[in-house]
Amino acid sequence: MEPQHLVQFAIFGLNIGAIYALIALGFVAVFSITGIINFAQGEFAMLGAMIAAWLVRAEWPLPVAGLVAVLAVAAVGALLELGVIRPAGSASIVTLIIITIGASVLFKGLAVMAWGPDPVRLPPFTAGPPLRVLGARLLPQDLWVLGTTAVVVVGLSLFFRRTLQGKAMRAVAMNRYAARLMGIDARRTSTAAFALAGGLGAIGGIVIAPSASAYWDMGTGLGLKGFVAAILGGMGAGGAVLGGLVLGVVEELCAGLAPSGFGGYKDAVAFVILLGMLFFRPGGFLGRVPGRGGL
């Protein structure tokens, strides 16, 4: 194994890991505010990618298409909360799990009906020759992925710490009851959390679409791995980002270093890690207790 191969796998891993991180942040936002694990989180990424690709095919400029797709999926997230999560009221956890699974199945079905089963691709955001880093190839799109993720993480952190809406969300995450006593509309905060999760997922789906193709079923795997990342990070925002990057790199290294013929096990790696974490260290590798208040 040449060292540049290791670097190459690390680049692949950071790339896909950044997507996991964005999706994991969506999980954390919804879980912190509502106590729900949104099984449709991966479908937000799928919808983002598909809508953007569709608009680009309709000859919209890429930046506009991307922005519209993100806003549209954020609206889908808000509608999901308003349409079924809120009417279910204080239902049992099993009920809520099944509702969000239903949503994920519905989104997949609608995507197939709207755009067909075949994969589509977005063009790379900018053209240009690959860079050389320690002998490995770094595509301009890779920089877009990492750069976008970094901007989103910083922006989110400012949002939660500087803006009124962000502070309100953190307050609800820490103590819903107390936040309501302080006059914060906790229900609107829940809607906002789902919208935020939709937007985050869509960004992840859009930036990955040029390097991996986008198709109706892409959300399942992304969602599951985003969840693994969130668990790895102890359901906290910072941990989720780290968890996503670590998961991506570990996955790529396992796939790259495995003897030939074993590359197909790559998808199981995340779940072996998931079960291991859940069974032996449910607090995440940073040792945080899973629970609310992770923003």
Binding site: F31, I36, I37, V84, P87, A88, G89, S90, A91, S92, I93, V94, T95, I97, I98, I99, I101, G102, A103, S104, V105, L106, F107, K108, G109, L110, V112, M113, G116, P117, T220, L224, F227, I231, F262, G264, Y265, D267, A268, F271, V272, L274, L275, L278, F279, P282, P290
Partner: protein
């Protein structure tokens, strides 16, 4: 217990038995024998999942794994030359052991974490089936699985296999009902009602949940074995996340608080899927969209919001409301209003409050 032999409580069983006996000969249904076999097979898995969801109060998103383990064990072992009736218990043992090993750590988790763990288990087993090509055939499928042959009789027609499968399904319905009405079933409902009180009365809560989990896995394996000798070809994608979710749809649709719910759910999902596909082909003009996925998604969400106890209790309440006045209000609602208070409730009677415990809070 004493009320079990009450004539009215035998009515649903008699009707089911009669329906099962005559269904494959009815005009119009005869051509669906193949589907009816699948209904019977999937009903077995769904009953097991229903016990887990309705009585242990936990959803499994990985039940296709147990079904797949049974199917592939039967397929591989019987292709190696052993009799299918030897292969089947090997599958049960293997699946039961796996379920037992993972159950304790899984039940240390709660709610969403538990659901995710079962999902992870499903994905891992699916990946193994797909990747262990030398054993399972992987993407190339496992083909030429021998048909079941007992004492010289070959179950090689849809009709003969139909009766074999439904004999198993009826046995599972009956034993499942017995379990629900037993000491163990009562213990499970107690756990649902108040875990701390149940354990203070001598109920080993974790142990009981583990047993239900193992039982439902073993039922999945049994159904898988039946499927292997019926289909004679196994492909990995049959046993993926989609099937796990379809199984949940079946239980949610029919309702998990009686053993009939999952059977009805299995029938509706299995029989409606090809019809919906045909309709969508006609609507979309041959492209064959996947309208059934959309419908499943809508079913899951809408049932949970409007009819969380499923169709069977809903219909039963409707029937009872018509039969017995005065009508209890809110029988269909999510709150655990005891259905049909006007009807006598036996010691372990058929009428119960919502064992899925979807009370607020």
């Amino acid at each position: 217990m004493s009320k079990l032999a009450h004539p009215s409580s035998l009515l649903p069983y008699g009707s089911l038995l009669l329906l099962v006996l005559v269904a494959p000969h009815l005009p119009g249904i005869r051509s669906f024998r193949h589907e009816l076999v699948l209904v019977g097979i999937l009903a077995i898995v769904a009953i097991g999942l229903g016990l887990l969801m309705g009585y242990a109060g936990q959803v499994s998103l990985g039940h296709a794994a147990f079904y797949g383990l049974g199917a592939y064990t039967s397929g591989v072992v019987s292709k190696a030359g052993l009799h299918p009736l030897v292969a089947l218990p090997i599958g049960l043992l293997l699946t039961g052991t796996l379920a037992y090993v993972v159950a304790r750590p899984i039940f240390r988790l709660h709610g969403h974490y538990l659901a995710m763990a079962t999902l992870g288990l499903g994905v891992i087993v699916f990946t193994l089936i797909r990747q262990l090509e030398p054993i399972t055939g992987g993407q190339h499928s496992l083909i030429d699985i021998p048909r079941l042959e007992v004492a010289g009789f070959r179950f090689d027609t849809d009709l003969s296999y139909y009766y074999l499968v439904w004999a198993c399904t009826c046995a599972v319905v009956l034993t499942g009902r017995n379990l629900i009405d037993s000491r163990s079933g009562l213990a499970l409902r107690a756990i649902h009602g108040s875990e701390v009180a149940a354990e203070s009365l001598g109920v080993d809560t974790t142990g009981t949940k583990v047993k239900v989990f193992v039982l439902s896995a073993v039922l999945g394996s049994l159904a898988g074995s039946l499927y292997a000798h019926f289909s004679t070809v196994l492909t990995p994608h049959t046993f993926g996340l989609e099937l796990s979710i379809q199984l949940v749809v079946m239980v949610v649709l029919g309702g998990s608080e009686s053993v009939f719910g999952p059977v009805l759910g299995a029938a509706l999902v299995t029989l409606l899927t090809p019809i919906m596909r045909e309709m969508s082909r006609q609507i979309t003009g041959g492209s064959g969209g996947q309208v059934e996925i959309v419908v499943f998604g809508l079913i899951l969400m809408l049932m949970m919001v409007f009819l969380p106890r499923g169709l069977v209790p809903g219909l039963a309440a409707l029937f009872r409301r018509r039969a017995a006045a005065p009508a209890p209000i809110g029988t269909l609602g999510p709150a655990p209003v005891p259905a049909g208070q006007a009807v006598e409730t036996g010691a372990l009677g058929a009428v119960r409050a919502d064992p899925t415990g979807r009370e607020p809070g």
